[in-house]
């Protein structure tokens, strides 16, 4: 340990040098990015040309000699008991090489009793639930053979609609208490919570460090205090992840060793799940993911399809590929759960929040942990009384999975609209209302910057901007919302850096690229540390043979893996110094600025570039390894919410009051993510978050037929995803927020960028038409219905 000066705070605002306790073996902290050569500069992806030429190989592109095609038999019923599965007819079909029955189901909530029993889950709880699979020479043969698998189903009554599921005599999804394990960044529900019928809960919540029971009382007292109260009920829909590459895995055995190519966000979690499921040693499983066509939270484990691929490959003694089709993707591999949220805000006339109460349910199908209270408990954490209750409602539909900022877009949709309503009721500008309740320094600066870029001062009260269009039917509105995300990292993140004699370097880390482009920031931090060009750094990722890295979820990747990468590069430099010092006669050779090695030889100062020093090596390479260090000096908080990133978005929309069609014309987004290592890639992530947010706000919704429990839009045509013509002008203000706690100051941005969008759009729609829409998606049908109903808002129409 040693003390050092570290730059802390928002660059260009309150950043100051502070003294910090630094652990041993870490390089000196970087100052603001403008003083750096590679880091912090907009830099094109080092693997970009693989992606634009089609050279990049994704899981369905992997070809192995003798590759077979696997297809899954999913349950055609949403609720049934399986009494037996007969595969012999299927096995005899042309081209068929193996047929297997899924031993037990992965994903979703589990009955405590079923867990104990282990094997073969005999109950189907959602349509599309995997039951068995076939491997054949062609996909068509495999598909044809599926029809020959005979499953003895006892079809049971089902319920797919949460409102129906809450009725007294609704069919039960689970006959007893359940729990569900989480995946990185979300999901998960611990046992020990009350459960009655299809309703499980409440999970009682309060801001970190506060007692929920006390908070409940405090909220009740505030509600009775006679201060201003706004209440509302908000509903959100089921959104499916819909990564453009579906889930898939190719498995190949060599003896008792299994190699798989998987479309995943977590190569190590796939490895561990396969090893556990197949009861083979972890060391016998290798997972490779060169490229992954998007995950958004749903691609962590091996998945039922992955297990089936491994079992088929074993049985057929040939490699087997199982890649889902678009329909299976919608049905069976996760979604963002629906919610109903009842929120109440209590405030003084001065706009200071006195209490926030939030109660409601989330509906994640046959999964648990569909919460939404993150924003309520964290964004206005200074509010003295905050209490939340979250319930799960079970239905016979595919279980939820973590989805980009799990719970937050839902939670922000309710909370930030309620804030908007409160602002109007108190006659305070919505931005100003946040100012009075949210001291987070990042968001403070973000509000200011975003408002300037956007021209927030143009905003008038709801419905007051002049009508546009020949029939005066176009109404324009401006709205804002904000959000938070957490600063998570995985300290089980390791990297190795090798410096070769020719002055090039290699960084090895067991992470995977899901689209964020992690290869590039890895190369950047190493190039910066070593003082060599970016092109001299080779990055190896996406293989469980590499040092263990984090799963890409919860926005942890960059903040977890770049510090050890930089630290490993520093360690490699230290060993380079040690190796080269005797060769140049400089005992005190040490790392200096700009990647140089400096010292004195024969009484004179000497300075070697990395390339010069490496050339002197008598061995092939020197290397350094490092593990993610805990955050430096973690006790000191300086009053800053170190654990939270912000994000403020302002939206401008038009609403056609004749057709109900909403168009988002502009979004201004201000965000912080620690030190933006590569602003170009950060910008891409923010675009992605916003566009998914708009798509969630206006278009996306899983549509089910209640009677049969079938999904009606399990495609990409009626499951509507925003395209190029739906995307507004987007302007971004990006903060440089140095927290001085790791060697790179990086934090994630993937998730925070999608949190406030839907809420900002909804607030802008309200501002346009003076009627508040409290249910997602904001469809033309809902707009027209709202316009036809008697006005509910206080604003003129």
């Amino acid at each position: 340990m040693s003390r050092a000066e570290v730059l802390v705070g928002l660059v260009g605002a309150d950043a100051t040098l502070q003294s910090r306790e630094l652990p041993d073996g870490v390089p000196p902290s970087w100052r603001e990015s403008s003083t750096l050569a590679v880091v912090g500069k907009p830099t094109q992806r080092i693997d970009g040309s693989d992606k634009v030429t089609g050279r990049a190989r994704y899981t369905p592109d992997i070809k192995r000699p003798g590759l077979l095609h696997g297809k899954i038999l999913g349950s055609p019923h949403p609720h049934a008991r399986v009494h037996g599965v007969n595969i012999s007819d299927a096995e005899a079909q042309p081209g068929v090489k193996a047929v297997v029955v899924l031993p037990h189901l992965l994903g979703g909530a589990k009955l405590e009793s079923e867990k104990a029993r282990g094997k073969l889950v005999p109950v189907v709880r959602y349509l599309g639930q995997p039951i068995a699979a076939v491997a054949a020479e062609t996909p068509e043969q495999a598909k044809a053979a599926l029809a020959r698998i005979k499953v003895d189903f006892e079809v049971l009554p089902h319920v797919v609609d949460p409102d129906e599921a809450l009725k007294p005599n609704a069919p039960l999804v689970f006959s007893g208490p359940v729990s569900m394990s989480g995946s990185a960044g979300g999901g998960g529900a611990k046992g020990g919570i009350p459960q009655k019928g299809n309703l499980r809960g409440p999970k009682r919540g309060a801001p970190r460090g506060k007692d929920a029971a006390q908070m409940e009382q405090a909220v009740a007292a505030a509600l009775r205090s006679g201060q201003t109260v706004v209440r509302g009920t908000y509903r959100t829909q089921v959104q499916t992840h819909s990564a453009l590459e579906t889930h898939g895995l190719t498995a190949e055995w060599a003896g008792d060793e299994l190699t798989v190519w998987a479309s995943t966000q977590g190569i190590f979690s796939v490895r561990d799940e396969l090893a556990e499921y197949l009861e083979i040693p972890t060391s016998k499983v290798r997972v490779i993911t060169d490229f992954c066509g998007g995950g958004f939270g749903a691609k962590f484990g091996a998945g039922n399809y992955g297990v089936l691929a491994a079992l088929l490959a074993k049985k057929a003694a040939a490699p087997v590929r199982v890649c889902l089709d678009r329909r299976e993707e919608h049905l069976a591999v996760g979604n963002r759960p629906a919610s109903e949220q009842n929120i109440a805000l209590v405030s003084g006339k001065d706009g200071k929040l006195a209490a926030i109460e939030l109660r409601g349910w989330g509906a994640g199908g046959a999964g648990a942990g569909a919460g939404f209270a993150g924003p309520a408990n964290n964004v206005y954490g200074h509010c003295p009384a905050i209490y939340t209750e979250e319930f799960d409602v079970f239905t016979h539909t595919g279980p939820l999975a973590a989805f980009r900022a799990p719970g937050h877009p839902q939670g922000a949709f309710a909370l930030e609209q309620a804030m908007d309503e409160l602002a109007e009721k108190l006659g305070i500008d919505p931005l100003e209302l946040r100012e009075r309740n949210d001291p987070h320094p990042g968001r403070r600066l973000e509000r200011q910057k975003a408002a300037e870029l956007f021209g927030w001062s143009r905003r008038t009260l709801a419905g007051q901007l002049p009508p546009e269009g020949a029939l005066g039917h176009i109404r324009r509105g401006l709205g804002m919302a904000q959000g938070c995300w957490y600063y998570f990292w995985s300290d089980d993140s390791h990297a190795e850096v090798r410096i070769h004699r020719d002055g090039t370097a290699e960084v090895l880390a067991g992470v995977q690229d899901i689209g964020t482009g992690v290869r590039t920031p890895l190369a950047q931090v190493v190039a910066e540390e070593l003082g060599i060009p970016l092109a001299s750094v080779k990055v190896s990722i996406g293989d469980t043979r590499l040092p263990v890295g984090p799963g890409s979820g919860g926005s942890v990747t960059t903040g977890s893996i770049t510090p050890p990468a930089r630290d490993a590069a520093y360690q490699a430099r230290l060993s380079l110094c040690k190796e080269v010092a005797p060769l140049v006669g400089a005992k005190d050779l040490a790392p200096g600025p700009g990647g140089k090695l400096v010292g004195t030889a024969a009484g004179k100062p000497i300075e070697l570039s990395l390339k010069q020093a490496a050339a002197k090596l008598r061995k092939e390479q020197v290397s350094g390894t490092a593990r993610r260090k805990p955050d430096y000096d973690a006790a000191a908080t300086n009053g800053r919410a170190w654990g939270q990133t912000g994000g403020v978005q302002l939206a401008e929309v038009t609403v056609d009051t004749l057709t109900g069609i909403i168009r988002v014309e502009r979004i201004v987004a201000a965000h912080d993510c620690g030190r933006p290592l590569n602003p170009l890639l950060v910008e891409s992530q923010i675009h992605g978050g916003i566009i998914q947010g708009i798509s969630y706000a206006l278009f996306e919704e899983r549509r089910l037929d209640r009677r049969t429990g079938r999904m009606l839009n399990a495609n990409l045509e009626q499951y509507k995803i925003a395209g190029a013509l739906d995307v507004p002008r987007i302007d971004i203000a990006l903060l440089e927020d140095l927290h001085g706690r790791t060697s790179t100051d990086a934090r994630g941005i993937g998730e925070p960028a999608t949190v406030p969008t839907a809420a900002a759009v909804a607030n802008a729609v309200y501002n346009a038409i003076g009627v508040r829409l409290r249910e997602l998606p904001l469809t033309p049908a809902r707009v027209l219905a709202a316009l036809a109903a008697p006005a509910t808002g206080t604003a003129p129409r």
Partner: protein, 365 residues
């Protein structure tokens, strides 16, 4: 997709012969194949023989993939007699027509200079359909003859009336995108955007039959279940084994104009929630009303492209353009609508789109 025999033909006569020969098995005609592949992949159709009507190779005399202007002097009588009469009671006069071959793609239509200039409603409709990639492949006849997009119909899991089953799942199911007119037997809306435009342009369809050709007005071509004694299994009057060869569209006189508007939730490809085409003919100055002819056809609201006759009548009575009268015309557009549980919004929507179309066409007139 089932395995099938590929039977490739380049003329309508061959196609008809192959379709009727069917040799005891089933045969399905493919043009661009966008709709056909969707149905084959879902298993809604499983023909033994796919009759593939290909674009004739260069140099052939076939007009199946051509757009050409046919001067009045060369217009066949069979077409002339179906042209709209200039004034009620008059015998139809030959007029210059545009002839569009059945295999012409939507992309060709959307960019054809004559269509852009003289028949803008058609160009706009073609451009608004699906994606650029699909428009490059999809043909005009295929677009008119594609099967409905009702999501129950499109899923092999639902054996609904349209497939010969005995119930309609949409009537008390998820019917947000379904019909508000003529919807009691089958509420699927007619899917073709091109049809909506072609109807206001008085298009005539030419059909190859086993014994020759026949012609009919497109306005009498599409049929709903209620118009054919409850038969929901088809959407038009094309008989089995027949093949569309051409469309004839009278070229408008200088005082006529048309436009098409599509209201879609998503601006990048989306099916219409409601679409409208309108054509008007200005009245000579001094006449009491602004217009002497008007047609309004609304799509996405009925099992067939829906003539909004009451709105047409109101439009014809219009003597000056003001917002109140436009609203009144729009109101009339939803006369007779009987929405289902979840598509009530289509009533104001249909009015709204018609209002915009009327406003737009009259202020440009």
């Amino acid at each position: 997709m089932n395995a099938f025999t590929w039977v490739e033909v380049t003329t309508a006569e061959q196609a008809v012969a192959q379709l009727s020969a069917a040799r005891g098995g089933s045969a399905l005609l493919k043009a661009g194949g966008i709709d056909v592949l969707d149905r084959l992949k879902e298993g809604l159709d499983a023909p033994e023989r796919l009759i593939v009507l290909r674009r004739p190779t260069a140099g052939s005399k076939s007009t199946l993939s051509e757009i050409s202007e046919i001067p009045a002097s060369r217009l066949p009588d069979s077409i002339t007699r179906l042209l709209p009469a200039g004034n009620a009671g008059d015998a139809p006069q030959p007029r210059d027509c545009l002839r569009i071959g059945a295999l012409v793609t939507l992309a060709q239509i959307a960019s054809h200079p004559t269509i852009l200039r003289a028949l803008p409603a058609l160009a706009q409709a073609a451009h608004a359909i699906a994606t650029p990639q699909i428009r490059a492949v999809a043909t005009i006849a295929g677009n008119l003859l594609q099967r409905p997009r009702c999501w129950y119909f499109r899923s092999a899991d639902f054996h609904c009336r349209k497939k010969g089953g005995d119930e309609c799942f949409a009537l008390d199911g998820e019917n947000e995108y379904h019909a508000i007119f003529d919807n009691r037997t089958c509420a699927a809306v007619h899917p073709s955007g091109a049809a909506v435009a072609l109807l206001v342009l008085d298009a005539i369809v030419e059909i190859q039959t086993a014994s020759g050709t026949r012609q009919q007005r497109l306005s009498a071509f599409f049929v709903s279940a209620s118009q054919q004694g409850g038969d929901v299994k088809r959407e038009n009057r094309l008989e089995p084994g027949e093949v569309i060869t051409h469309l004839y569209i009278p070229l408008p006189s200088p005082d006529e104009r048309s436009l098409y508007l599509k209201s879609k939730q998503k601006q990048s490809f989306d099916w219409p929630l409601c679409e409208v085409a309108i054509s008007v003919r200005r009245a000579p100055s001094g006449a009491g009303s602004l217009l002497q002819a008007a047609r309004i056809v609304v799509g996405g609201v009925a099992p067939i492209p829906w003539r909004a006759k009451a709105a047409e009548a109101a439009l014809l009575r219009l003597s000056k353009l003001d917002i109140e009268s436009v609203r009144a015309i729009a109101q009339a557009a939803s006369d007779g609508a009987r929405p289902l549980a979840k598509n009530g919004y289509k009533v104001p929507l249909c009015q709204g789109v018609v209002a915009q179309a009327v406003m737009q066409i009259l202020s440009n007139a």
